[in-house]
Amino acid sequence: MVNDLVAQGAASIHLAILDSLSMPSSVIGFFVKLVNRDKIPLTMAIHDGRLLELLEELSLDRLFGARKG
């Protein structure tokens, strides 16, 4: 789905993550590439505090624009 948005020329992507408490490393790698190579700013509204905590712990909260949803 995110790939479709990129293909359609999305200038930025906002994700609302409702019920995930973790994020696989392959998804992290995909988002890192999206921000750094494709230059598409990312923001995330994260509803589960454990996922937000995880991204903060991994120093990814700023890169992914993560905030509490």
């Binding site: 490393s25 392959s26 992290i28 995909f30 890192v32 590439k33 190579r37 712990e57 991994l58 120093s59």
Partner: protein, 597 residues
Amino acid sequence: MALLADQITPYAREITALLVEDDAASRRLVGAQLKGVFKELILAADGQQGLAAFLDRGPQIVLTDNVMPVLSGIAMTEAIRRVDPKVPIIFITASMDRALLVRAINLGISAFIPKPIVLDNLVQALALAVGMLETRDLQRRNTEQELALLHFREKYHENQQAIAFRKELSILENDYRSRSFTGTGAGRGEWVAQALYRPRDIMCGDSYSLRRLPDAGQLVFIADAMGKGLAAALTTTLCVHTFNLLVDALAPGTRFDLGAFVGHFTRLMRKRLLEDEVLPLCLAWLPADEAVMETAAFGMPPMLLRGPDAITSVRCNNPPLSIFLDEFRTSRHDLAGTRSVLLYTDGLNEAQTAAGALYREHLTPDFRASAGLGQFMEAFQARVPVAEDDVTLVLLLRVDGRQIWREDLVVPSRLEQLEQASQTVEALLAGCRGLAPVARGEFAMAVREGLLNAYEHGSLGIDAEAKHRLLDEGLYFEHLLERESAVDTAIALRVTLHAEGGNRLVRVTIADPGQGFQQGEAGYGSDDSMLLHGRGLKMIRRYSDACYFNEEGNALTLLKIYRGASDAIDENQPDPDHHHREHQEHRRLSGDPLHGQ
């Protein structure tokens, strides 16, 4: 007659046939027609003889008349079918009523040949039956070959995976598997490193190394490559190998520079990462001359530092390594009051507990409540019965707390003296309040093994090869007594109890007069395998929280860590003279028996 043989597939000459015919003339005639067709033709004069021949000789094809004395062809067929439902049976008969035909068909008769026999009918029936046998045999051989091939492939892959795993282990270097480390800086203290590497698959994404630097500092490395399986294993192998190569290439005599090292390392690794690949890893440097730890952590879970009063969670200072990351930060942490440091991969904190929660919720309390790696992993496994990811962790543990009491023994190299010394240690351990009886018994066994090793190898100079040979020959015990009467040596044994924050630490050092051994340069698990008998070393490692040798390899120290009793009675109990008096019989030398060890 040769005509019939020529018309049947050559496969017929590999099989045995049974001809059952009560009429002697017919038997001779058909027998003559079948001459040369089969490898062997067995002749029988009635159904009973035919059945006996079938059971005795196991022919692959049966030709039979039906109307015969004693036992008819159809009755014989029923008996044969009970033991062999598949053997082709050809009926040669002058008459066939409807009921018999149905019965024969239900018994799986392959073909019917009316009497008098027409050669073409015989050829056709035999060709059909032999062809079926040949096809069946071919299928069986194919199946056997396929199974053999599958078995071979499975064995091949198993073997390859085992070799690959050994290779992976050989790349993980741990310079501190069998030695403690200290430094020159004030408050630096003595530490041991405990590492746990528990891959979920043979090849996995986790790796670690603990390296001794040329300037006597320590560098800890731990990585958790993205994903699972071969791709992750390839990345992590490259990563840890690159790390170790760079450590090996450090110039002697120069002070280590973490920033420069990490810059070099990450530049090399970024060349090997894919665009969408991230690589969480951590490097932690303990300089020899300062009580600090400097870290560069990339997308790793927080490391935990246990201080005298609290546990500090230190978050990583960089996102995971990727080809896009061209800057990084390092951080310094004061270790002066730190008693232990835990670094781990996310297989630990992201593991799902039996209650459905993430283990991260329990990590800090369990770390706080655990005295060492063994207790910590027991707590983890109690909550996470089946870990779904690789788990790797490195625990740095300070082991130089305040000494509460000390007991020195000098044990003459005699078997009965070893036993006495073991009992003395057990009595000392029994006075350690808070040390659970099971743990106490296990640690006492580890000490026994250590003493036995010092006696056999260090004092009497018996190497593992000679020991095995003498055990095989049943001469070992006699050899020990003979050797011990020829030497006048002793083993120095020191037992101390230390207070380490809320922990108590029993330290037993066993020093023998032997030459020791050179700790090798080889990697995981092979650094001291030459010294102790395999089972003895395993037992020592299993039943102690840490064990390590001195530089010479002739003094072994075993540690047992436990939570101190709340009333701290150990601290009020120290009466070293009490122990000295009680075990005076061991003392033969004056002064410090471990001096110089």
